[in-house]
């Protein structure tokens, strides 16, 4: 229970970003143009975009986290291989169980020495630690990799009441919702409890906002860093995943 309290997150107020005046940026553009001119001259044909392969993931894991990292990734790949072809509900169950069993809940403070850090599945598996959004992201990515359409998956910010219906402790939390049908009651994949329950049986959670990777450039884009993607946590983590070899 003590851990749960640490999943709290501070909302970073994202103001409607007006486009910065192009005038102010003109100097920077000229500089960019000069750099581009120079680099295109220097590089000539340009570089071949790295083709992200799932195999690459193992190599990165070994390099970063050693044998435990390799084992974790191997286990994950085995899970994905075993679950392939099963029906969606079974896939959801296995993925949920895999991560809830394997990953130890720790706050970002402890794992990353940062206030709020969205880890990629590889980072989560490599360290075997993560907080609520790391669980949700890892599960989302796994299910998407198993072929479940994005329209059935939602990462959802929820207001979680900790310690039973009468408790006054409220916590910002993130879960993954699985919608068997678009209009159906979602199944909740949570890090707080290991069991998957339909939303109607989770009175402790109140949904605030949900999102998935639909409509985002980054998900399908080549792993060239898009400077604007860094500004959004969600796009940032998708981009880092792409660079690590997860598509």
């Amino acid at each position: 229970m003590r851990d749960v309290l640490l999943c709290g997150r501070k909302w970073r107020q994202g103001a409607l970003s007006a486009i910065p005046s192009w005038h102010r940026r003109r100097a920077a553009i000229f500089q960019l143009a000069a750099t581009l001119l120079l680099s295109s001259l220097l590089l000539g044909v340009g570089f071949v975009a790295a083709k992200p392969l799932f195999d690459q993931l193992t190599a990165v894991a070994v390099q970063r986290y050693g044998p435990p990292g390799r084992d974790a990734v191997t286990a994950w790949r085995r899970l994905l291989a075993d679950a392939a072809g099963l029906d969606e509900v079974e896939q959801v169950r296995r993925v949920n169980a895999f991560f809830n069993r394997r990953i130890q809940y720790e706050s970002d403070d402890v794992v990353w020495h940062q206030n709020d850090y969205w880890a990629t599945p590889l980072e989560t598996l490599g360290r075997a630690m993560g907080d609520c959004e790391d669980f949700a992201i890892a599960k989302y990515v796994s299910l998407e990799a198993l072929g479940i359409p994005r329209s059935k998956l939602r990462l959802t910010y929820v207001r979680a009441q900790i310690g039973g219906p009468t408790s006054g402790i409220v916590q910002a939390h993130m879960i993954l919702g699985y919608y068997p049908e678009p209009s159906a009651d979602p199944m909740i994949l949570d890090s707080l409890i290991s069991e998957i329950r339909p939303a109607s049986r989770r009175p402790d959670l109140a949904p605030i906002f949900s999102f998935n990777a639909e409509g985002l450039w980054v998900a399908g884009a080549p792993a060239v860093s898009d400077p604007t993607a860094r500004l959004s946590r969600w796009r940032d983590v998708l981009q880092r995943m792409a660079q690590e070899g997860i598509q």
């Binding site: 553009i29 001119l37 295109s40 919702g177 979602p186 949904p207 949900s210 409509g215 450039w217 796009r235």
Partner: protein, 634 residues
């Protein structure tokens, strides 16, 4: 293609590449930047709107109001709310395009920005999917405007760069032009020296060429001195350095040729009587001193006159030949002065007999000498200088004074008509180099050669008018026949810059004329007015006409001073040519003279070739062209 053009093209290409590339890249970068920013705005605004919709009631009116509020107050092309099954729940759209952006620009730089997508929740249930697309038209307008700006700047900068580059090129390559000019001059055997340019590579080239020129100049100097020495040996009296009897007689014979341009003149002889007695009385050394002083005075007298010569005919007889001089008073006064100076140291001062006579071209040398001898004999008897007139001609009554001559010449020149003589100058193989065209003037109803009037025309300042008429006639004849013509110009004309300019203008306008024109100036005059002559050459050489010296030979020692003006030929004085076949000393001199001439690219032409044996002997001595009574065309 010239070097400057190639460099300029290269610079232009690089400039175009740099500015064109910068322009394209900047435009593309700006477009990408705008697209990126618009996409971020789409995503953020979609998220915000979806979040607010997730929290609000989902009745149609509230939804509609929320979307409208966002759409109407913001800058959107479209906001769509789609149900999970894909059907449209709500849609707002603005399809206006940017009106101040040309269609081709919009098509060329399409600003395609993906819509921002966010999910709307109704509690745990999916409610819909929100797609927000910002309007790109103001971004496109901004892109268009800045592209125009940028294009303007790039064009201006490229023009400026090109301008600066071409100025710089011209500055850098100016020394190169100089170097090329000098190299060409040296190629044409004009050994000029030029200032060393500041460019190190070119400086080394120029330095080398200057060194070459200097060495040639030095060589010329040495060589011409050697040749001058040969001339002295062949022609001069050993003690005084004046012409010996033989050389003097050759010169007289040359001046008496009927058709030569210097004209009538005077010849005078001064006898140092009783030289033997003088030797005994004052000693040989003092007597020789005396003779040397006399020689020096005579030399100064003839030095600046065309064709003039001073000679020692025998031990005691000193003679001067002054062609073109018609005033006997001048001659006698000069001789008396000379004699007075020479004998002033003797006691008692002895008055020396002087005999003089006028001569006319066409007279036999024997007649002239006889007249001079009779004058000398008379002077010995009378103790006074004696002078004899040339015989009157029956065909032409010469005026006796300046007024008469002025009247006669004005009358002759007024109609603007002159005749030109026509004497071939040929190569040893017989090919015609050009035709000498001495002037004839209609004096009192008869066409008379220059020798008849040239002295008076000079004295009365009419030569420039004569020259102008001669050139007119020559141009006409060249136009009509295409024959190359040799024209004698007087010093008066050479000394007037505007005269040279006038000819140059005429020749620049018609290069064919220039090709056929050979202009010649007396050697004496050229050296006497060296600066004027150099200017004359600089003005006329670029037209392509040829310039030469006539009556050349006596001034050979100074030929080095003219090594860089671009002379084309020397016409060697008849006095040297006469009897060349039988005179080994003169042959050695002439051979040296031809060598020096060839060394600086001059043709050597022999004047006054009067016998077949002379004609046979000359080519072997290095002569390139011959003219005179013994020469016919073909």
């Amino acid at each position: 293609m010239s070097l400057i053009k190639q460099l300029w093209l290269a610079i232009s290409a690089v400039t175009l590449l740099v500015f064109g590339g910068a322009f394209l890249l900047t435009t593309v970068a700006a477009r990408n930047y705008l697209a990126e920013q618009l996409y971020v705005k789409n995503v953020d605004n979609a998220t915000v709107l979806a979040l607010s919709m997730s929290q609000m009631p989902k009745d149609p009116v509230t939804l509609e109001l929320q979307v409208s509020a966002q759409f109407d107050a913001g800058h959107y092309r479209s906001i769509h709310l789609l149900a999970p099954d894909g059907s449209t729940l709500l849609a707002r759209q603005d399809d206006r395009t940017a009106d101040d952006v040309p269609a081709w620009f919009a098509a060329l730089t399409p600003l395609t920005v993906k819509p921002g997508v966010a999910q709307v929740q109704d509690g745990w249930k999916q409610f819909g999917r929100l797609e927000v697309e910002s309007h790109t038209r103001y971004a496109l307008a901004e892109l268009w405007r800045s592209t125009l700006h940028l294009a303007g700047w790039c064009v201006a900068a490229a023009l400026l760069t090109s301008l600066v580059a071409s100025l710089l090129l011209r500055l850098l390559l100016r020394p190169l032009d100089q170097v090329v000019t000098q190299a060409e001059a040296i190629g044409a055997r004009r050994f000029i020296t030029t200032e060393e340019p500041s460019t190190p590579e070119l400086r080394r080239v120029v330095r080398a060429m200057n060194a070459l020129s200097d060495r040639v100049k030095l060589l010329m100097l040495e060589e011409s001195r050697r040749v001058e020495e040969l001339r002295r040996k062949a022609q001069a009296d050993p003690l005084t350095g004046l012409a010996g009897r033989e050389a003097f007689m050759s010169a007289l014979a040359a001046r008496l040729e009927p058709d030569q341009t210097i004209g009538a003149g005077c010849i005078a002889v001064l006898r140092v009587t009783a030289l033997g007695e003088l030797n005994q009385r004052v000693g040989r050394i003092v007597a020789d001193q005396c003779l040397l002083q006399l020689s020096e005075s005579l030399r100064t007298l003839v030095e600046t006159r065309t064709g003039a010569i001073a000679g020692r005919l025998n031990g005691s007889d000193f003679a001067i030949l002054l062609p073109g001089e018609s005033d006997d008073g001048v001659v006698l006064a000069a001789l008396l002065d000379a004699a007075g100076d020479a004998t002033s140291t003797l006691t008692p001062p002895s008055s020396l007999p002087i005999g003089a006579t006028h001569y006319l071209p066409g007279e036999a040398p024997g007649h002239v000498l006889a007249r001079m001898d009779s004058a000398l004999a008379a002077s010995e008897r009378s103790g006074q200088p004696e002078i004899r007139e040339a015989p009157r001609r029956d065909d032409f009554r010469e005026p006796t004074d300046a007024e008469g001559w002025r009247h006669l010449l004005d009358e002759a020149l007024a109609p603007g008509k002159v005749l030109l003589g026509h004497y071939p100058v040929v190569t040893p193989t017989g090919a015609v180099l050009h035709f000498e065209s001495p002037v004839r003037l209609n004096l009192g109803g008869q066409w008379q050669p220059a020798s008849r009037f040239v002295a008076w025309a000079a004295r009365l300042g009419k030569l420039q008018t004569v020259d102008a008429l001669v050139l007119d006639a020559a141009f006409k004849r060249i136009k009509a026949t295409g024959e190359p013509l040799g024209i004698n110009l007087s010093l008066e004309s050479v000394r007037h810059p505007e005269f040279a300019r006038m000819i140059a203008d005429r020749l620049h306008a018609d290069p064919e004329l220039a090709q056929a024109l050979w202009l010649e100036v007396p050697e004496h005059g050229a050296y006497h007015h060296l600066e004027a002559f150099r200017n004359f050459c600089h003005a006329l050489k670029p037209t392509g006409c040829r310039i030469g010296l006539e009556h050349a030979g006596p001034g050979i020692a100074r030929i080095g001073e003219l090594h860089d003006v671009g002379l084309d030929y020397l016409k060697i004085d008849a006095a040297i040519i006469r009897g060349i076949d039988a005179h080994p000393g003169n042959q050695a001199f002439l051979r040296g003279l031809c060598m020096v001439a060839h060394a600086i690219g001059l043709q050597a032409i022999a004047e006054g070739v009067s016998t077949p044996s002379e004609r046979e002997a000359l080519p072997g001595l290095g002569i390139d062209g011959l003219t005179g009574p013994a020469i016919q065309a073909g």
